[in-house]
């Protein structure tokens, strides 16, 4: 690309800097439990026994483990060949019990979450917070207003202990253990994650948030989340993810199931900023009842490879689903993201807006599926995928699949690929904006309509993260 500055030439290396701000880690020697490397049936039995689970859960784990062993890696998506299952630790329990008071959280864990900004967010903008450190939720709170109205916000382990019937009724119903290899793996070794129940008619006006932190090296984090939003209720759940900067790879493989009942609304927001050695292979799906509404706001910036396609099953008449997906892939990263919209009932509607940014040789892929069943007459689907390429080394692909079995429907698909052109940069620079700031401006403008769907504090943080990723990206 042509250069804008003719006078100043920067010599390369002095400007190279590490751009990941959550790269620190702490020692794991004092952990309460460490399963060691590799996964065996014995480890699964041990996890279940440590957690004092009911027999049905152990059975479910073992059944899923059998599936995991025989199920091949998917041949589509990203390159999974360098995941060495035998080298990973599957269960690391940092402390004995979850803490109710911030002061009781061990110093190193506390420092980690303070650096991420958890206590401040908890005070100012959240209805409740959970902090998961490796395999376990180490801290949790829920403001009393919501507790009094019957809102339940627990770690999944606590949820299983306190509401076994509710968990048994819904666990694995939206994402069965044999959905894919990584759903099977998660079902067999899951630990932590959130259990949320919102009673009928309750509108939780502030978000609930869980922070996921991988601290240990060569570790697999397998949280399991189940969210049930009862009739006419609403909730916004947010998750944030960070990990230290290690040379060896880690695996994050979550399963998130959301049940949205009649007339209920759920927004699920992810701000994924794993370090660039984490495989992020996550299955997320919502089951939506009549006139219910689900919004996935899914922002992926970190990880080595992400394969994630938050989906919705529009099961009730008039159900609505929306996915707003943003992916940024830099050097050595592949973001293979998208969404699945399964229309099973009449008058259902879905919108998928996917925006991706590729830079420094990074790769983004949009992968989406739209299924319209014979019953889903008068349904509507819109898919918009926009890709922005920041240089010639980077890559973006689109893999859409539409299966339509009813002809009284409206389906729209739009896709664009654009490059940050010299003309755009030149235009902004003639107004006195530096080249780097011009790039940041163009990228932030590109995703502006998605970011504005976030609560203000998160929108600000998102723009900051994008700016951070764009630092030193010139040349």
């Amino acid at each position: 690309m042509a250069r804008f500055a003719t006078k100043k030439t920067k010599s390369g290396n002095e400007f190279i800097k590490e751009t990941y701000e959550h790269g620190y880690s702490f020692d794991t020697a004092n952990y309460d439990f460490n399963s060691g490397k590799g996964l065996t049936e014995r480890i699964i039995r041990e996890i279940s026994s440590l957690k004092k689970e009911p027999a049905w859960m152990l059975k479910a784990r073992l059944q899923a483990y059998g599936e995991f062993l025989v199920r091949p890696n998917p041949l589509w998506g990203g390159d999974l060949s360098s995941i060495k299952f035998a080298d990973l630790a599957y269960y690391l329990k940092p402390i004995k019990n979850q803490k109710k008071f911030w002061a009781d959280v061990p110093k190193e864990v506390k420092e980690t979450f303070e650096r991420i900004g958890v206590p401040e967010a908890e005070r100012k903008i959240l209805a409740g917070v959970k902090a998961q450190y490796d395999s376990e939720v180490v801290y949790g709170s829920l403001k009393s207003t919501w507790e009094k109205q019957g809102v339940v916000f627990l770690s999944m382990d606590e949820g299983l202990a306190k509401y076994p019937d509710l968990v048994k009724e819904y666990f694995g119903t939206v994402i069965p253990y044999n959905d894919n290899k990584y759903a099977a793996l998660n079902t067999s070794v899951w630990s932590g994650g959130s259990f949320v129940y919102v009673p009928p008619g309750v509108n939780v006006k502030m978000p609930l948030q869980t922070y996921f932190r991988i601290n240990a090296e060569s570790f697999g984090q397998f949280e399991r989340t189940l969210i049930i939003v009862d009739e006419g209720a609403s909730v916004h759940y947010i998750e944030g993810c960070t990990a230290p900067q290690f040379n060896s790879t880690s695996l994050h493989s979550a399963v998130v199931e959301v049940i949205v009942k009649k007339g209920a609304t759920c927004q699920y927001t992810t701000v994924q900023n794993w370090y660039k050695n984490v495989y992020n292979l996550v299955t997320k799906r919502a089951h939506i009842g009549e006139e219910g509404s689900m919004i996935w706001t899914d922002f992926n910036m970190g990880s080595k490879l992400t394969m994630k396609y938050p989906g919705f099953i529009l099961a009730g008449k008039g159900a609505r689903g929306e996915t707003l997906s943003m992916a940024l892939a830099g050097e050595g990263q592949h973001q293979d993201t998208g969404s699945k919209a399964i229309h099973l009932a009449p008058h259902t509607s879905s919108t998928i807006i996917a925006k991706s940014i590729s830079k420094g040789g990074g790769r983004t892929s949009y992968r989406g599926k739209v299924f319209i069943s014979p019953n889903a007459h008068h349904s509507k689907n819109t898919v918009v995928c926009d890709a922005l390429l920041l240089d010639d080394k980077s890559r973006s692909d689109t893999y859409p699949i539409d299966q339509v079995y009813n002809n009284q429907v409206e389906i729209q698909h739009e896709a664009t690929v654009s490059k940050i052109g010299d003309d755009q940069l030149f235009y902004l620079m003639t107004r006195g904006i530096s080249e780097e700031n011009a790039r940041k401006m163009i990228v932030n403008g590109f995703i502006a309509d998605l970011v504005k769907k976030l609560p203000l504090e998160y929108a600000v943080e998102m723009n900051r993260l994008i700016d951070f990723e764009m630092e030193g990206s010139i040349g």
């Binding site: 804008f4 003719t6 010299d422 755009q424 030149f426 902004l428 107004r431 006195g432 163009i442």
Partner: protein, 250 residues
Amino acid sequence: MAKTLQISKLKAQVAGETILRGIDLTVHPNEMVVIMGPNGSGKSTLAKVLAGHPEYEVKGSVKLNNQELLELSPDERAQAGLFLAFQYPVEIPGVKVLNFLWTVYTQQHPDRKKRQYASIVDFRNYLFGLASQLSISEKLLDRGLNEGFSGGEKKRLEILQMAVIKPRFAILDETDSGLDIDAIKVIARGVEQISQETGMGTIIITHYQRILQYLHYDKVHVVINGRIIKSGGPELVEELEQRGYGKIRD
């Protein structure tokens, strides 16, 4: 000379083809200079080269206040006081006009205490005032920069940006092309007002004399084939109108 825009022996080529073959031109503060010429004569190249577009290979000198602009990147040239109103303004989706101009404004006035408009709210009111003078709908200020704007809206927004930035020297590259007569009047009035208020020197690039009826300009230069082949006062426009570019050489 201090405080002038001084272009000397300016040459430019792109992809091996020479477009500018040595332009000499000096513009003083408060002065309005018109550059006319047929299509392909190098007028727009001159505008882009002055602003620092990277695709040209450039020789010669362009000094603003004795500072050599050709060594500077486009943003540094803008900071030195040069402005280009584009013939084809570029769309930057999602970058709101208001926020963008606030960024430009705060960058130009880094000292908060010295800002005439202390907050984005004050600035917004100021911008609304300018917008109404230029017949720009307030709604456009909340849209992405030039995003989905009509041709006329884009051109008027260029003048709005110029009003906010208050450059020392501005180049208007065919700002009148594709506009109806009402829009041309609005734009001409805007340019006149800004130059009167700020003492800005202006280069008007056009190949029609329509907009010139509404401007008080000092000099006219005719560019053909990358060179200024004739210079004069407003009477030269009359002559061009009657005789055309083909015969002006003689």
